[in-house]
Symmetry: C2
Subunit: 357 residues, 2 copies
Amino acid sequence: MSATELRSVLVVGTGLIGASVGLALRARGVEVYLRDVDAAVLAEAAERGAGLPGGAHGPVDLAVVAVPPQRVADVVRSLLDDDRVRAVTDVASVKTPIAAAVAPHPRASVYVGGHPMAGREVSGPAGARADLFRGRSWVLCPGENTPSDGEPVELVTQLALLVGATPIRMGAADHDAAVALVSHAPHLVSALVAGRLRDAPAPEVRLAGGGVADITRVAASDPALWREILAANATAVTGVLSALRDDLDVAIGALRGGDLDGVERLLRDGVTGRGRLPGKHGSPHAEYAGVPVVLADRPGQLGRLFADVGAAGINVEDVRIEHVPGEPVGLVELSVRPGTEEHVIAALRDRGWTVHG
Amino acid sequence: MSATELRSVLVVGTGLIGASVGLALRARGVEVYLRDVDAAVLAEAAERGAGLPGGAHGPVDLAVVAVPPQRVADVVRSLLDDDRVRAVTDVASVKTPIAAAVAPHPRASVYVGGHPMAGREVSGPAGARADLFRGRSWVLCPGENTPSDGEPVELVTQLALLVGATPIRMGAADHDAAVALVSHAPHLVSALVAGRLRDAPAPEVRLAGGGVADITRVAASDPALWREILAANATAVTGVLSALRDDLDVAIGALRGGDLDGVERLLRDGVTGRGRLPGKHGSPHAEYAGVPVVLADRPGQLGRLFADVGAAGINVEDVRIEHVPGEPVGLVELSVRPGTEEHVIAALRDRGWTVHG
């Protein structure tokens, strides 16, 4: 443990994220004080055990600002006004606007922007849980005047580690560019692809398979939440979208002009880009062997498959289920280590499963 | 069984699909004759049991053309020249160009275009299997002059049913528009989103999560195959892509202009479109309750979870695994019937699992 130890935290805004931070820190023995403008939300968070309501009456090591995005900068600045607060962080998903608003403050050097890569489909302290951040990344964005090895960065790093997350340090602009590229712009594109299905004839939609189901999965997310995220990061997101629009023009031109090599170049870039995504251990996706198992849609089939896989001692690396349109049958693709697939196929066939391969 | 019975089939082109058709039909007692310009491929298909090599010497009920896409129309026409062949179908994934090329033939009325929605990542007769089409859709595209209740349609319908597929009848143009919308254009968009990651800084890519992994999954497919598919259906695909480009322009304009309601409208269209995708039983996606389980990346963890789920009698409806960048930990999301999630959570916690909820 470093000389700088995180012992006391003030959580401002006790919704899902704030209350979860409180629960996780208290489980690790940190003193947690809670503040919220909504007395009912505050009471509920306190009742769930996230911390002591009413704010801190003495000095605290760190204030964590978990209020709605549009209010974050104001709350951060007012906390910096109070020198009993040693350091301040927040959890908003877009960092540059807040960094810019905080920079002129005389105590800006004790502010470190934060972004835990975690969330739930519910909101409010009722959905809070101590393990929300476990195994997730927690991005730290120290400001230009914040020493990279100083106490504020150390305190926020401890916050991330104590709640079970992996701290990742980067500049605010880099962070916003990154989430625009790997999350916000792809999200909007997924919504647009899904939107094209809205008015399509039913027999056409019926031919949809696993590919488009994957591509449009995130399009089912809450539009009211995502309009705010996209708007807060509009500059970076429109940058990525404009580049994609240009790529789309190139693709349309190549297809219209019969330039198959041009089409193939775009597809090859896609293979390369896809290969850069983090897989297990943060390395590029390992190549596993796929074992497709036919699943009748009777109750308990997947459970029975799970049991047989477990009983056979098969180490499954990944699993995907594909439903067949209009058919009470599914395909389950089990990913196993290359070289073990023959054993897996034999073991499952022995147990009565139809296995492709 | 109908009066028109499928008893004998000539398979022309004995690669993956042709040989699989042969294997599946012979398993159902149909006489199968094989033909291929490549003697080695023909011999291998025959050796695997897909049928008798050397073609048919007498009349056959149906010829199935499974040659490479650019040769299909010529082969179909030459088979129509032979009136010992009662009906002709093919398996190419784009139907209008073939329909147009075949239409002027005097026996065009006995041609019925076909498209089994099945494939594998391998090619050639070595990868063939009798159950390749089981649980899959098989689209039938009768020509304009082909009676919808006549013998040719009946024979191809029997072909689909005998190999375990679900026959779906639609016009060639409708088919091509459908696959452009639900497969070809989304595939290219997925590749473009993935292509944007190609030259991104490593720390940015490291923030990628499950959303973009889903969106770009199909981008890993073979570019040499997909350039041919996209080119064959270029008109329909560019139609969808142009519409998407226009949607992208609307999105960029709305974001730049701060028109959050406009952004939200696009997102809501995405939710609606996504909701139209077929789920189990061909109905829209049922809403299940998600139970997220934390998985340490030790050998056998997923197998142990499978065993525990099976032993607890939990009926899992769907399952997804999310790997955390840079962390030897994963999250498994089990989908269960709403109302049963409390039982599932308790059962898994009893067995020592960390379950969010």
